[in-house]
């Protein structure tokens, strides 16, 4: 039985016999070569489900929005599963209300090319799941971290590169909306009294938004790359996220989205935490 057949069969069983009210997976998009999230609530609709290298959207982002409906099954690649862990850690979803259908992933393709975040992926298989759909995939050798090249630049060059990139931002907040970590009912940019961040697309306002968002990702981002893929303007948002993830790993030895029992790095305090910056 193919992986897709297995997925569809399990979805039907879950919906008919196992008390699941919705299976979140992917279906083919109208546009050739694309997939879009599918929300299957009736067993007869389960045949739309697919899984292949078109399926990039991190489905965990939808969990906080639909969890009130009842027990949810979710198709989870390595990165999606890590986002589920992150949500569990932050008590945004209840483990008992979830059925995690793990799928191994050989990387997501964008216009035929391996998505940037997938080149450095070290968790192609789910880190948490109730059952695997299909076999686990072989671990890949990650490509060199693109951050290395960036960090070799001088501070001025780095600033310039970031500024050039974020000045293209149109503030549509697609990066935020596709991010499983961004579940806040009111985001800091969605308040106007006080107005924390200017609303224009001037470089400084855009940079403020992106830096603040990056700070909020520290110790939480699982580097799925949904933000970069979702950005209509092609901004390398992962550069910010890779950097904060690296700093958190260096300083606290913590990697996001692996252990549901562990507190998020910035939500925990340990007397051995480095504190040389306090003088």
């Amino acid at each position: 039985m193919s992986r897709e057949d297995q997925l569809r069969r399990r979805a039907k069983e879950l919906l008919t016999k196992e008390g699941v009210v919705m299976v979140i997976g992917y279906r083919a998009g109208k546009r050739p070569g694309t997939a879009t999230p599918a929300f299957v609530t009736r067993p007869e609709d389960a045949d739309v489900l697919i899984f292949d290298d078109r399926c990039g959207t991190n489905l965990a982002a939808y969990l906080p929005r639909v969890k009130h409906r009842g027990k949810i099954a979710i198709v989870a690649k390595g990165c999606d599963s890590r986002s589920v862990v992150a949500l569990l850690k932050e008590k945004q979803v209840d483990r008992g209300g979830l059925v995690i259908l793990g799928v191994g992933c050989d990387g997501v393709k964008e216009q035929g090319r391996l998505s940037d975040s997938c080149t450095t992926c070290i968790h192609p298989n789910p880190v948490i799941c109730d059952e695997m759909i299909g076999e686990k995939v072989a671990e890949r050798t990650p490509a060199p971290d693109p951050l290395d090249d960036f960090e070799r630049l001088s501070p001025d060059e780095r600033w310039q590169a970031l500024m050039t990139d974020v000045s293209r931002c149109i503030r549509c907040y697609a990066c935020r909306q596709v991010c499983p970590n961004c579940y806040c009912p009111t985001c800091f940019v969605d308040t106007n009294s006080p107005q924390w961040v200017g609303k224009t697309t001037a470089g400084s306002d855009n940079m403020m938004f992106h830096l603040m968002r990056a700070m909020h990702m520290a110790g939480r981002c699982v580097e799925c790359g949904s933000c970069s893929r979702g950005c209509p303007m092609g901004i390398d948002l992962m550069r910010f996220n890779r950097k904060v993830a690296k700093v958190v790993k260096e300083r606290f030895g913590a990697v996001a989205g692996l252990n549901p029992e562990e507190l998020p790095a910035l939500a925990a305090f340990d007397p051995s935490d480095k504190q040389e910056f306090i003088r």
């Binding site: 998009g29 109208k30 546009r31 050739p32 694309t34 997939a35 879009t36 999230p37 599918a38 929300f39 959207t57 982002a61 939808y62 929005r65 639909v66 149109i170 503030r171 549509c172 907040y173 697609a174 935020r176 909306q177 596709v178 009111t186 969605d190 308040t191 106007n192 107005q195 200017g198 609303k199 224009t200 697309t201 001037a202 949904s226 893929r229 979702g230 950005c231 209509p232 303007m233 092609g234």
Partner: protein, 374 residues
Amino acid sequence: MQTVAPTPSGLALGVRRSELLLTQRIITSAALDKLVAVWAKSAAVYAPVKVKGWTEYRRISSLAEADLTQVNAKLSARGLLFPQSETMFRFETGRPDKVEETATPEAQVVLGVRPCDAAGIAVLDKFFSGQGETDTYYRRRREKTTLVGLPCSTPDETCFCTAVGGAPAGTRGLDLLLTDLGGSYVAEPLTERGEAVVKELPEATAAELTKKKETSDKATAAITQRIDTARLKELLDSGNSHPVWGDLSLACVNCGACTFVCPTCHCFDIVDETRKGRGARLRVWDTCQFCLYSQHASGHNPRQTAVSRFRNRAMDKFKYTVDMIGEVSCVGCGRCIRECPAGIDIRETVDVLLKQLSKSDAMQTAECKMQKAK
């Protein structure tokens, strides 16, 4: 529902000369290059320029900088007439006598506008200067703008202009249409402003005009999507509370990408930025997809849910604007399809709406008949 007849824009634009058949002319690439250089002396010339893997409108000084081969620019030309952030005036707090108007923008020529985007500007003209109200900031830019269009020869899979009343070689909104024949262009003036640009050029031959028509016919045939917009409007009139919206909106992440890349979306927010007694009043693009957009001062938000915001966009494009300006405000450019981070396709949304709303419409009609029979 009564539909309002399209009103003339009221803008002092180049007068549309549709009643007269203006002579089509021929312009070589070299002559066009010279023309761009001439324009650049007295106006800001914008054209699609290659950026990363796509094009964006940028200011150019020579034709060589432009890339007129891509299907369409990443963002529509709307930002050249209605910038994402715009300073309306500057002020000093507590000093009503110290209000400083911003300078009138310089004249601009936009080269390489695709017909869908030009149609989008024609729709914006109605929003910003129909109905008796005129938006000064839009109008002062629009009056100084010449739109030079370029028909599409090979539409993208996501293009559907012909489904919403447009065409790959449509002329609406344009001053001049240039059809590429390879090495030269057929220049079709559409307004007096366009005519003034090309009147000295040689006339196009019958063979050149035939070639032009073949190009546009081929492009038109490449777009197969059809949308029954009249039927859709009828169904949407009574389809506000149909459960289909709940299903359709599930995948939507409620970002603003679709509305910001849309050539006809025109909502804005006004904010004051003040520092040490001096400030500026700005207007910035806003979108119905954001929660804050519909937030009232009382704290109440009539469009609190994701489904209501998703529904608003579809309703706006295919119903509300038909009520307001007499036409749908979708020009079929396909940008919302290409840029949606969740892969939502407006063509599919429309298909599902037509199917599901028709079904319940048919049921309602049947129920009415049964009740009448009783």
